[in-house]
Symmetry: C2
Subunit: 335 residues, 2 copies
Amino acid sequence: MRFRRSIEEFGSYNPYVKGEVRIRLDKNECPFDIPDEVKEEALRRIKGAEWNRYPNVNSDSLREKIADLHGLDMRNVVVGNGGDELIALSLKLFEGDKVVISSPTFGMYSFYSRLEGLGVVDVPLREDFSLRDVENHVDGARLVVICSPNNPTGNLQDREHVERVLETGVPVLLDEAYAEFSQKSFLDLLSEHENLIVLRTFSKAFGLAAARVGYVLTSERIAERLLSIKSPFNVNFFSMKIAETALDNRRYVERIVSYIVEERERIYEQLRDCAYPSEANFLLVRLDAYDFLLERGIAVRRLEGRLKGHIRVTVGRREENDALLKALREFRGER
Amino acid sequence: MRFRRSIEEFGSYNPYVKGEVRIRLDKNECPFDIPDEVKEEALRRIKGAEWNRYPNVNSDSLREKIADLHGLDMRNVVVGNGGDELIALSLKLFEGDKVVISSPTFGMYSFYSRLEGLGVVDVPLREDFSLRDVENHVDGARLVVICSPNNPTGNLQDREHVERVLETGVPVLLDEAYAEFSQKSFLDLLSEHENLIVLRTFSKAFGLAAARVGYVLTSERIAERLLSIKSPFNVNFFSMKIAETALDNRRYVERIVSYIVEERERIYEQLRDCAYPSEANFLLVRLDAYDFLLERGIAVRRLEGRLKGHIRVTVGRREENDALLKALREFRGER
């Protein structure tokens, strides 16, 4: 029994912090549970069903509702067990043996690329976290991944730059997990670019991280291939019905988004000298305060590499954000 | 944008039959929903939780309960989004570029092997569906897959034969999705063989196909590697809690299993001349009755290749089985 050498490289992803945590601002979750009446309705839909039966193989009823939301056809929609599954599947579709990413960005693009045996070409973001000439590094690339708003820096990428990459013909995975918080999206580029795959999720603005449902919006040609290689019944029945109920009652999402955007701007104003502007539900902060905050029961994300000494803080409820701001004032006073 | 050639080979898995189906005996599901009181308890556990939070990254609370069930440690347990995810992950772990299967068997072993770019070596089952000298075909194999009870033939494989394969040192994935219906298992071989991965599921005897939860029982060394390459939060919160509630109330499973085994034997007695004995919740039947049954609203699985002209019928409720037997009598009378 010999393990593949490439497998040796992976360390478990461990999101758990040591110590007692009162306030969770580490996973870019929504700080509010979904409204009681939406929960009740979802539970009614679940309760009445036969749990002994497999769900629809491609989650068709959910695909239809997602298509309606975006004014597309369900043939443009593929649903996955979290966005993660769709990243991994997108990496299997095309020719080429490398993946282009732009760091600092979401770590799972590299994780799944290496797991697929692909090389990772990093075209690092500029000083201001905008894309560098990615379009000049796409030769032989299987996929280019662009995250916008970018995790963990919070900024949107430039529309013209994304278009320049798309025009090379290389397949592009555009991760828009946080798009609802920016009120801007490049979804309309789908009508012109068959090589575009836009990734969205129910885990952030929809407040359904527990359900693990992500989806892609893409051309029929790509969607058809994704459907043909994904596992049958990849989204369980319960998560599917919960996501559908959320879509049928999606006005609560607008309320969440307004609240988060308002709080985000309030935090940014107070941390202006050390925080970066953000279009997402988190802020990048140039303070090495991870341990200090954790000792006070506040979990945030500690960043590494080029962002060593920075933290990423999720925008929480007002009182949570107040506690964060108070702790950060203490931290800076102590230095 | 060029699709990889290997991707072209895949056709979508489409489990849907044309026509109106009254009786579903095609997917080896449990014919009973789980008991109302178990459902209610699961819904209570779900309702009280925060749906906006990610579930535990490795489903630890469920791993603990599964370990208890089998008298193992949770370090021997890995939980997946259906057994499918665990088959795909097991194919990534080891050195070697081919996978050994024994047809006729569950089609997804080959599907995931090809998707992983691996060759598939078929050492076909003998005439009586027992394993042929698999141990002589393991050189350079990344994984040997043995399904017992085998889908779609229903027979258990020989314990000594499984041991002979394990003793070669090659990693073995032993799919025991239907083990509860056979009352026999090779789980005890885990204590002697570090290279054994036993796959189980909540989709069959536990009556929870809607939840998509499978698990493997294996050595700590293999479990640790599987955990390190699986997606974080791969099992959603709802399915996790539902599976846990099922385990806490698992006496209902015994009732289901007794019922199914009794019905299976009743069907077998009546179809003795054309059915094969089975240790699972389905029977292999040597009748080309797929279309005939479907016209009467009964869906079964039509088999191909070496089993062309055979059908696989899931054991259903008594009245469903009566309808099946009646239709098959008509079918044989008409020939």
